[in-house]
Each structure stands twice: as C-alpha cells, then as structure tokens.
Symmetry: C2
Subunit: 151 residues, 2 copies
DNA sequence: GCAAAATGCTTGCATGTGCAAGCGATTCGC
DNA sequence: GCGAATCGCTTGCACATGCAAGCATTTTGC
C-alpha cells in the first residue's frame, strides 16, 4: 500500500541519502585538493553570501546548524592560515565578526569550482533542463524562509 | 547569467541545506523521545532493509558512509542496551553480523513513526501528490545503483 | 541610574569519529 | 600445501563537536 505518509517518508530518506552520498564524495576531494573540510567551505560560502560579507559567530552557528563553540574552534585555525579575519563592532563590544580574507575568497572560489563540477556529475546527463529547474524550485520551497540561505 | 552549471550548483547547495535542516530537527526529537541518535536509527533501518535482516560491520560502514571503527563503536552500546545482537558466520570466522533484536525492531518502529511525522511536515500542505511523486522519483535516480539503499 | 536578565563568546569536559596499526582468519599464487 | 597478500574487525591516538559553565558586555525593568 502506497499512501502519502509512505511517500513522504521515502522521499525524506532518499533526500538524506543523496545529500550524504554527495557530501561524502565532496569531503575527500576537498581535503585532498584544497586542504579544507566541507564545513570550512560552507563557512566561507556563508560569509560570501551574507550582507556586508561578514557574520557574527552566533549567526554562523545558526546557519550552519552547529554550536557557537564549534564556530570559535573552526575559525581559529582558519585565522591562523589566513582564510578569515576578525572585525569588532563599534557599538557592541561583544560582537566579533568573521570576515573572509582575500586568500579566503580565492580558496572559496577554487573550492566552489570543485563543488560545481561534482554538482554537475550529480545531475548532468540524467535530467532535462526543465526537470532540474523544477527540482531546484521544489528544494527552494523546502528551505525555511529565514533568508539566511546559501542558495 | 543562469547556466546549467549554476543551476546544478544551486540545486546541490539546496539539497545539502534541506537535508541538514531536516536532520538537525530530527536529531533533537530522537534523542529526547526515543533516546537514540539519528545514526543509530539509520543503522537499525539499514539492518531492517538488508537481506536476511543482518549486515556485517564493513557493509554497514559502507552504507552509512562511516568507517568500520565507527560501526564497532556504535554497535557496542547498542548491544549493551539490547537493540542489536551479533551472529557469526559458519564459513568465515572473520564475519560478525549485526542483527536487530526484537527490542531493536520495536525501537525502529517507534522512531520511524517520528521520522514519518517530520517527513510529513517537510512536504505536506505545500505540494501536490503528483509533485511529490516526481520529486521522489528524481531522488531515486540520484542514488547510486548499488542496491544497498534505504528507500 | 542600577541591579538583574540576556547576549556573545570562550573554555573544560565528555563523546563521537577517522586514520593507522595490529590481530586473527581467509584467499591467492605458485 | 605454504607463504604472502587480503579481508574483517578492534584499538590507540588525534581531532572535531555539543553542552554546561564562566566572563565580559549590553539591554531590560523599575
């Protein structure tokens, strides 16, 4: 018996599986070719797509579904190797923004090319343009409307 | 300029984001209501859907995109609380299969209900049945054809 | 104005995970 | 058959991460 519940469940399972497959493949190439993790890539991407190209640590944490302490500990080595820097807020001394350096933006650009290549593998030669359009639009509708989105 | 590459990239980013949003929400409810992690749930689900309802540790590792040592360390506490047991292979003494106990299957059943409920939230009231059908079929095509699939 | 609550960030501790090494069992090459 | 290579699993170590506590700063309630 196929009912709506089953279809939702199956779709959600497939969604998780496809995302994890893709991410697992990405992980190897990222560390080998670019020397960064997928999460570090996503951190740089969040910065690039944020207003003013900078984000506080708690904002980053919410967008990346990790704790604030993880952001602190992710940013430290990225500062050390010059991918990101920090900016303080004039009005609120508690805020410490994370900003991408020029080096960080270059790293993001190179990593994004790898990402796009693999994204192409994931879809290409299987789907019509129209199908992909529709798929992308469906996913857009599934992302929460907070606006703090990557795509 | 919108080209195929951009569309693939955007779709892949959205795919990852939706999957992580969903998984993050699931994680809290699973630990609070069922006392298991999402990965433990997925381990039980892999067992349920495997032929003979059992899998070796390396098979589990491949299907779950984790290392073999992680399976060893995940299975140990699950054995302790009676969710899974172990079976040895008569012909190959190296193989130690992981099998779900009755308790484990009950836990899976309850957890799957939570999963389905949240999967329903993810899709329901937004999509037509036909759209969801198509979405599910698209995801099916994106899963590698090894057959070791959950859905 | 000021104390209390809230906010942003960091740190200590516990847990989860991957990698490499090690051990026992099996298969391969000859 | 037998040694070497392979395979399945486990363990030591290092690293990543969440939670709770702590500190500094800001906002709130009065």
């Amino acid at each position: 018996m196929i009912c709506m519940t089953d279809l939702c469940t199956t779709s959600a399972l497939r969604l998780i599986q496809v995302a994890e497959d893709f991410r697992a493949g990405l992980s190897g190439e990222f560390s080998a070719v670019h020397g960064i993790s997928v999460n570090e890539f996503l951190l740089l991407l969040h910065l690039e797509r944020a207003t003013a190209n900078r984000l506080s640590r708690v904002d980053l944490a919410k967008r990346m579904h990790v704790s604030a302490s993880t952001i602190t500990r992710m940013a430290a080595p990225m500062e050390k190797i010059g991918l990101v820097g920090r900016e303080v807020d004039d009005r609120d001394a508690r805020l410490v923004f994370v900003v991408a350096t020029v080096t960080g933006r270059e790293k993001l650009s190179q990593s994004l090319a790898t990402f796009s290549k693999r994204a192409g593998y994931l879809f290409s030669n299987r789907w019509e343009d129209e199908e992909l359009d529709q798929f992308s639009e469906m996913l857009r509708r599934m992302i929460g409307g907070t606006g703090d989105t990557l795509a």
